[in-house]
């Protein structure tokens, strides 16, 4: 029971991080039909810059703000330098070019910061734990991540659903030609989306940094999970990304525990120890397959 509560909380917190990464990605896909494999790089960059800025500026919070902003600027620079030349090109070209960007930046990070994993200290304010229920203490920081993620999600939802720019973004995701026909500079709109997306991914990277080891290539695992989130949620849909991120987060924590437990119930001894982990590691992908089998366009398709 206690385990379940902890896993649920962990799942929610993972879901919030995934949402932060997936939000920018899904809008970029939705609005520009642009396949950006290099989005995970922003997450990695956020974590590394967070470590560096925290050391330089003396503290987690300064690191968080400076790293998120720099990741956003870096994303805009990449967009200006490379990505804007790829709009309208084939999926294949976009995949290859952004694959090249990943290779370059992962190695660049290795060159600058080295291959050894780095650590980022939690802010002292949030480093404790509190009694969640009898016999269960839960780290404050994880709750803070979930809270911050939720706050950003609400802010983003408000931005997308209540502002004129947000209205255009939603319209662009469902019908790009119409937005262009309205005389809106779709490229400027897109730069806005891209910059915010890059910043959010960087923000997620800094938030995650105290919980994981910061190392080259860390972005791609998150990126592929974010893909799963987008596919489940429906391309271009913020609401879908939010729901799917929580689903993926929960499935990966609660489901993992449940399936290992189930394997032990159904099978005995060594067989359970073998089947359990293998099945657990495949679980989110199986959920993705199930969703696609029923709804190929995802749970909340943005395009009619």
């Amino acid at each position: 029971m206690i385990l379940l509560v902890v896993q649920t909380l962990n799942g929610f917190q993972l879901g919030m991080l995934l949402f932060l990464v997936a939000a920018g990605l899904t809008l970029v896909f939705g609005v520009m039909n642009f396949v950006n494999l290099a989005h995970g790089v922003q997450y990695m960059l956020g974590a590394y810059l967070g470590v560096t800025f925290a050391q330089m500026a003396g503290g987690f919070w300064a690191g968080l703000v400076l790293a998120s902003l720099s990741a956003g600027l870096f994303g805009l620079a990449l967009e200006w330098l490379i990505f804007r030349h790829l709009y309208g090109r084939s999926d294949l070209d976009q995949v290859l070019a952004t694959f090249g960007v990943i290779l370059t930046l992962n190695e660049g990070v290795r060159l600058i910061w080295g291959s050894a994993p780095l650590e980022l200290a939690m802010p002292r304010l949030l480093s404790g734990s509190f009694a969640l229920m009898e016999g269960l203490r839960y780290p404050v920081y994880r709750v803070a991540i979930a809270g911050l993620g939720l706050a950003v999600a609400l802010l983003l939802a408000a931005g997308v659903h209540r502002t004129r720019a947000g209205m255009l973004i939603r319209a662009g995701a469902s019908n790009r030609d119409m937005v262009s026909a309205l005389g809106v500079d779709i490229n400027r709109l897109f730069r806005l989306v891209f910059g915010i997306g890059a910043m959010l991914a960087g923000f997620a990277g800094v938030l995650a940094a105290p919980l994981i080891s910061v190392e080259p290539g860390m972005g791609e695992n998150v990126l592929i999970l974010a893909f799963v989130v987008i596919v489940i949620g429906g391309i271009g849909s913020i609401r879908g990304a939010f729901a799917a991120a929580i689903i993926v987060g929960l499935v990966d924590t609660v489901g993992r525990g449940a399936i290992t437990g189930l394997a032990h119930l159904m099978l005995t001894g060594p067989a359970a120890a073998k089947v359990g982990p293998a099945l657990a590691s495949m679980l989110i992908y199986l959920v993705m397959a199930a969703v696609l089998a029923l709804r190929p366009a995802g749970l909340f398709p943005a395009r009619a």
Binding site: L96, T104, G108, V231, A278, M288, P296
Partner: protein, 308 residues
């Protein structure tokens, strides 16, 4: 010239062991390297069949490659090394994997298809890492290489020949397939799916069959790869490996089949050469890839088209 090129490539590959035996060219390292090139060429060629001819941009082709390699490892751990068992198991496993994942992935198009194939390959990556009996994340070192009814055709110099013959047969097979009713139908679906549906073709079934065939061939490449390295690890299914295969196909010229050999040669040699110069070789390879896509009018395929 165009027709002669693939034959010239195979002739050159066949001459290498001969020339090195005669001492005309250095032995040892070059045949080893080319053996590796041919293994990746086989996997890339099978990808070219679905990508170049079928237009299915799979970013998960490392998955069947890894499944083939793990078939070798798992059977090796259970003391089965005969290719007559290993290869059917590898091919069947990869085929079933492609059937199941393809059935889902083909319900979508474009960007979604790319992301889903990538995700399913990642599933294989994590599943392989959870196989504690077979090395888990650290990978598994083979006790002994695969044999064919007792013959050591995957060892030493014989490996080169085995890889060459396999690659040659695969090329003949895929070339036959490409020209057949099946292959032309697949090409038609790439060019104009609604038209093909209106003409009575079940595009979904044809594409699914193509994915299964390509996965089976990639699994054979996986068997070769496990033997070549005498080692298997989850990284075989990694996204970077899938990306490499795709780069090989593009560099060689999409849809040409034999171009995959040139692409594999280029990528393996470039990584080897750059790796010899600097441990940070992706800092050269990555930007080169970006620049190639940006500045060659028809993507990188343009080079391949001119060369082919």
């Amino acid at each position: 010239m165009n027709r002669a090129l693939p034959w010239a490539i195979f002739a050159a590959l066949a001459l290498v062991p001969l020339l090195s035996a005669l001492g005309v060219i250095p032995g040892g390292y070059l045949p080893l390297l080319l053996g590796r090139v041919m293994v990746f060429a086989l996997a890339a060629m099978s990808l070219d069949f679905i990508l170049g001819i079928g237009g299915l941009v799979s970013f998960g082709h490392a998955a069947p490659l890894a499944i083939g390699a793990y078939a070798v490892a798992i059977l090796d751990a259970n003391n089965v090394q005969d290719a007559l068992v290993v290869i059917p198991v590898a091919v069947l496993a990869a085929g079933l994997f492609a059937l199941a994942t393809g059935a889902v992935a083909l319900r979508t198009r474009g960007v979604n298809f790319i992301m889903i194939t990538l995700a399913f390959a990642q599933m294989v990556y994590f599943a392989a890492g959870s196989l504690a009996d077979y090395g888990g994340d650290d990978g598994y070192t083979l006790y002994s290489r695969t044999t064919l009814a007792g013959w050591k055709v995957f060892d030493g110099r014989a490996f080169y020949l085995t890889a060459l013959i396999t690659l040659f047969l695969a090329w003949l097979f895929l070339r036959m397939l490409a020209a057949s009713r099946f292959g032309r139908t697949l090409a038609g679906i790439r060019q104009n799916r609604p038209r093909m549906a209106a003409m009575g073709f079940n595009a979904y079934a044809v594409e699914l069959a193509a994915l299964v065939i390509a996965a089976m061939i990639a699994a054979i490449a996986g068997v070769l790869l496990a033997n070549e390295a005498e080692f298997v690890s989850p990284a075989y299914a990694g996204w970077a490996r899938s990306g490499d295969l795709m780069v090989m196909v593009i560099l060689g010229g999409v849809g040409s089949l034999h171009g995959a050999i040139l692409g594999a040669l280029l990528v393996v040699l470039a990584q080897e050469a750059l790796g010899g110069l600097t441990s940070h070789w992706p800092l050269v390879f990555g930007p080169a890839l970006v620049l190639a896509v940006l500045f060659l009018r028809h993507g990188i395929a343009g080079i391949g088209a001119r060369r082919g």
